[in-house]
């Protein structure tokens, strides 16, 4: 995929498909170590150890609409092309953490891209998850919490188009300004 934020949206979709109510996303860009690390942690139903071992294969999927699952294999290919890798840790019934790391300066590393659109898309649902996004860039930090936003909105639902549009732009401005 041409943007890391599309992979992130994919990981969020996996978490939501596993019934997660709470999702934490963390991105850390470290110029000194020349590393970008991203992590998506959820409290969904998780995977058994046997299933965890199989998920990197495209032929492991709980989808019923097609026989291959592409999300994790595609992320793995991206990370490996940038001298990195991915890991999945899961506890059945408790949740899952997927992490990916790659060389920040690798020419093959996709840009972060429209992360605001990915988070807006993740929250645009009837029953949105509690989502926390943290982004570190050489020690500077941006943090967003959907729970705080909902408190701010009161009775106005998160799915209101104008709210989602504001959110998309706000997140992009904050992240680009880091």
């Amino acid at each position: 995929m041409e943007e890391l934020s599309l992979h992130i949206l994919d990981l969020i979709e996996n978490a939501l498909a596993a019934g997660a109510k709470s999702i934490e996303i963390c991105i850390n860009e470290d110029t000194g170590q020349d590393e970008l690390r991203l992590e998506v942690r959820d409290n969904g139903r998780g995977l058994t150890p046997e299933a965890s071992a199989g998920v990197m294969s495209p032929f492991y999927t709980s989808r019923t609409t097609r026989r291959v699952g592409l999300g994790l294999p595609l992320l793995k290919a991206t990370a490996e092309a940038c001298e990195g890798g991915i890991s999945l840790e899961s506890e059945a019934g408790r949740g899952t953490t997927v992490a990916a790391w790659m060389r920040l300066s690798s020419v093959d590393r996709p840009p972060l891209g429209d992360i605001g659109a990915s988070l807006a898309a993740a929250l645009a649902r009837q029953d949105p998850p509690k989502l926390v996004y943290r982004h570190y860039r050489d020690g500077r930090q941006f943090r967003f919490s959907s729970k705080e936003l909902e408190e701010e909105l009161g009775v106005i639902p998160l799915q209101e188009g104008l709210v989602l549009n504001w959110l998309r732009q706000y997140i992009n401005e904050q992240v680009n300004g880091l």
């Binding site: 995929m1 599309l6 949206l9 994919d10 979709e13 939501l16 498909a17 989808r63 019923t64 609409t65 097609r66 699952g69 592409l70 999300g71 595609l74 429209d114 659109a117 990915s118 807006a120 898309a121 645009a124 649902r125 009837q126 009775v155 639902p157 799915q159 209101e160 188009g161 104008l162 989602l164 549009n165 504001w166 998309r168």
Partner: protein
């Protein structure tokens, strides 16, 4: 003895009903996503719709997405539902078409028949 917890429950329930009533009055736009949809540009379609709503300052439109619904070949899919009317499903939508859907269908109430897939 009445507890504060009980009051909180009453408040939650009342708010939920207000929310549902508001929901019924809203135009709903639903975008099909899932890895195939995302790869086919569903996120960009959603961004175009949000941007167009923002430019026109259109309130009372709820935008949501669903995971893949198995119609991968027709993705990105966009449903538009007006209160009390049947759902209209558009297929193979790109950001340009998405903006047209806002301008024609959501603003003027005119269905763009050529892009409809559920006729």
């Amino acid at each position: 003895m009445k507890s504060l917890e009980e009051l909180r429950q009453i408040k939650e329930k009342a708010l939920e009903e207000i929310r549902l009533r508001e929901q019924e009055k809203k135009v709903q736009v639903i975008i099909g996503m899932g890895t195939c949809g995302i790869a086919a540009g569903a996120r960009e379609v959603m961004s175009a719709i949000l941007d167009e709503l923002g430019k026109r300052r259109l309130t009372n439109v709820a935008v949501t997405q669903t995971g893949c619904i198995g119609l991968c070949a027709q993705e990105p899919l966009v449903d538009v539902i007006f209160p009390g009317k049947p759902k209209v499903t558009y297929g193979k939508i790109d950001p340009f078409k998405a903006r047209q859907i806002v301008a024609q269908h959501i603003v003027n109430g005119i269905i763009i028949e050529e892009w409809v897939v559920n006729k």
